[in-house]
């Protein structure tokens, strides 16, 4: 039983080892001449201005939360779809009720202006 997992273990070891190896080779043999310009976040790009962390507009948060809510509810469609034929009309009505309840929430969010950008 544990033997089945040996290839995976070998793969993990190889992948980890390779990652370390590549970084180590660059570190050992690469020439290093640090200058101030090279230390900047965007070398030969924009000059950075202001601190790195900035506030996100709260719109993003609202959209993200609504996305999480409606996205997760979809998990219930998956088992339903698999046994859809066995459940027949009953399952269909159940799912319609489920969707209607989701729809109530959607209409509420819409009327409250959660989807307006400006």
């Amino acid at each position: 039983m544990p033997q089945e997992y040996i290839p995976i273990a070998v793969l993990i070891i190889l992948a980890t080892g390779l990652a370390f190896l590549v970084v180590a080779i660059g570190h050992l043999f690469g020439p290093r001449r640090p200058t101030q310009r090279k230390g900047q976040p965007y070398e030969s790009g924009m000059r950075p201005f202001g601190p790195g962390t900035r506030r996100m507009p709260v719109h993003f948060y609202l959209v993200a939360v609504l996305f999480i809510l409606f996205d997760i509810e979809v998990v219930f469609f998956l088992p339903w779809a698999i046994v859809f034929r066995q459940l027949g009309l009953f399952g269909l009505i159940e799912m319609i009720i489920f969707i209607v309840i989701l729809l109530v929430g959607y209409i509420y969010a819409w009327k409250k202006g959660a989807f307006e950008w400006e």
């Binding site: 009309l89 009953f90 009505i93 159940e94 309840i101 109530v104 929430g105 209409i107 509420y108 009327k111 409250k112």
Partner: protein, 483 residues
């Protein structure tokens, strides 16, 4: 499950269906009610709960096991459903003027209240741990929002965040407990758990661990010591109308789950669990009552009082494993919950009447001289305090009496003595409120709102009248839980 089967199932939980559909409809209707007329939303919410209450009262003897055994409608659930719907309606009466005064009128308030009530009702009928979990979340999540409804007032936001973090922590513990019970027995149905235990196929170690985690998680919800530390802060910071509802509804729903799960599924574990319940009950009564003495803020005082009361309700559960006492256990716990609900609503409606904007009017000193200027309020508050203390002939006295009787039947005289002694300690801080109202000079400020006064006086009268004629009420509470 087919269509006719499903309609029979839905019919059995019709009061719950009415409340949920009403809440969804009200959410949409409220969008078209202008800001000045939010009283209409309050009225509609109360009508929905009243309709559901009438349906429940019309079929009080209904008994059914539906939804493939996931839902059980019986005397236990009918009693609690009436209690929850009644609390919901009283909460609307307490809220309407309070919200207007505090500038918190939002239609969502009443919708969230309806959703919370529906979660509590689902808890009353749940006979599968999945449904218990769903009901717990359905009642908790709207309550988190309700606690913070006074945003951007910082105390309300803080209270809400604390309630949320501790509440979701306890939910995590409950879910893990359910997972362990599922691992031990291969089922989440309460009846199935009993079958697995009697067949000897259950892993007892896992089962005891799961039951203990369920007790801890639900202990957070009903504020048992040592899982109570969130209670005073949350009760103090939340708007008073929400706190009143939280103190009664959420506690009753938590105990509904504890009673149903332990008495129906875990009697076989009583050897391990009874000592734990013993210690929890003793700690809760002692700490709740002793710390309450030091409180000067009336909301914190009532918060510690609610912790202490959780201890008294838990007393009823201590002898749950003895099959001849279990029925009395349920009956006395339900009766105590009812007495507690009436008493709390009386006390909280007086608190709400005295509360001014910016959290003024909540200190004990603000109650000085209340009997001169507002004799009715002072009298109702006195009745509530006497009932909390357990002075006859109030309902609170009978609640304690039945609980102690159950304890003695189960053979726990030591715990009963602790209960009586802590009741005597509690007399000190309850009666201090009465002393302030009647014997100190002061200029108290209170509002005159008809709904609030009706709620306060009606529940105070119920405390005395039902206290005198308690027999039918106890008989109703004794209606059996279906196994």
């Amino acid at each position: 499950m087919n269509l006719s089967n499903a309609s029979a199932s839905l019919n059995a939980i019709l009061p719950l269906v009415v409340v949920i559909l009403w809440a969804c409809a009200l959410l949409l209707v409220d969008l078209f009610i202008t800001k000045e007329r939010k009283g209409l939303t309050a009225l509609l919410a109360a009508i929905g709960m009243l309709a559901s209450l009438i349906i429940t009262l019309a079929r009080l003897d209904l008994e059914a096991v539906v939804f493939n055994g996931m839902v059980t409608v019986d005397g236990f659930s009918n009693f609690l459903t009436v209690l929850f719907l009644g609390s919901g309606i009283v909460a609307v009466a307490l809220s309407y003027d309070y919200l207007k005064r505090m500038g918190l009128e939002k239609g969502e308030y009443y919708v969230l209240l309806l959703f919370t009530v529906s979660g509590m009702m689902l808890m009353a009928v749940a006979s599968d741990l999945i449904v218990v979990f769903l009901a717990l979340e359905l009642l908790s999540i709207p309550l988190y929002v309700l606690a913070g409804i006074a945003t951007p007032r910082l105390d309300s936001e803080e209270s809400s965040l604390k309630y949320f973090l501790l509440g979701s922590f306890s939910t995590g513990i409950v879910v893990y407990g359910i997972a362990l019970v599922f691992g031990a027995t291969g089922t989440t149905s309460l009846a199935g758990i009993v079958d697995a235990i009697t067949a000897g196929s259950a892993g007892m170690g896992l089962l005891v661990a799961g039951a203990a985690m369920l007790l801890i998680g639900l202990g957070f919800k009903v504020a048992l010591v040592p899982f109570h530390m969130w209670t005073p802060d949350v009760y103090q910071g939340a708007p008073s109308s929400v706190t009143a509802f939280m103190a009664i509804g959420a506690k009753a729903a938590g105990f509904a789950a504890i009673l149903r799960i332990f008495i129906q599924a875990f009697p076989a574990l009583s050897v391990d669990l009874t000592p734990v319940l013993w210690v929890l009950a003793a700690l809760t009564m002692i700490l709740g009552n002793v710390v309450a003495i030091a409180q000067r803020n009336i909301k914190r005082l009532l918060a510690y009082s609610s912790i202490a009361n959780a201890g008294y309700i838990l007393l009823a559960l201590v002898p749950y494993g003895q099959s001849d006492v279990a029925a009395d256990s349920v009956a006395s716990a339900l009766f105590y919950l009812l007495a507690y609900a009436f008493t709390s609503f009386t006390a909280w409606s007086v608190v709400i009447a005295l509360e001014q904007v910016e959290g003024k009017g909540l200190e004990l000193e603000d109650y000085a001289g209340l009997s001169r200027r507002y004799p009715i309020l002072a009298l109702t508050m006195t009745v509530a305090m006497l009932s909390f203390t357990g002075v006859p002939p109030t309902l609170g006295f009978l609640g304690k009496f039945y609980v102690f009787r159950t304890l003695l039947e189960g053979g726990f005289p030591g715990l009963a003595v602790i209960g009586v002694v802590t009741s005597l300690i509690s007399a000190y801080y309850y009666l201090r409120v009465v002393v302030y109202m009647y014997m100190r000079e002061g200029e108290p400020q209170a509002i005159r709102d008809p709904w609030l006064y009706i709620a306060a006086t009606a529940s105070a009268i119920c405390l005395v009248v039902l206290g005198i004629f308690s027999q039918p009420l106890f008989a109703w509470a004794s209606q059996a839980m279906l196994h």
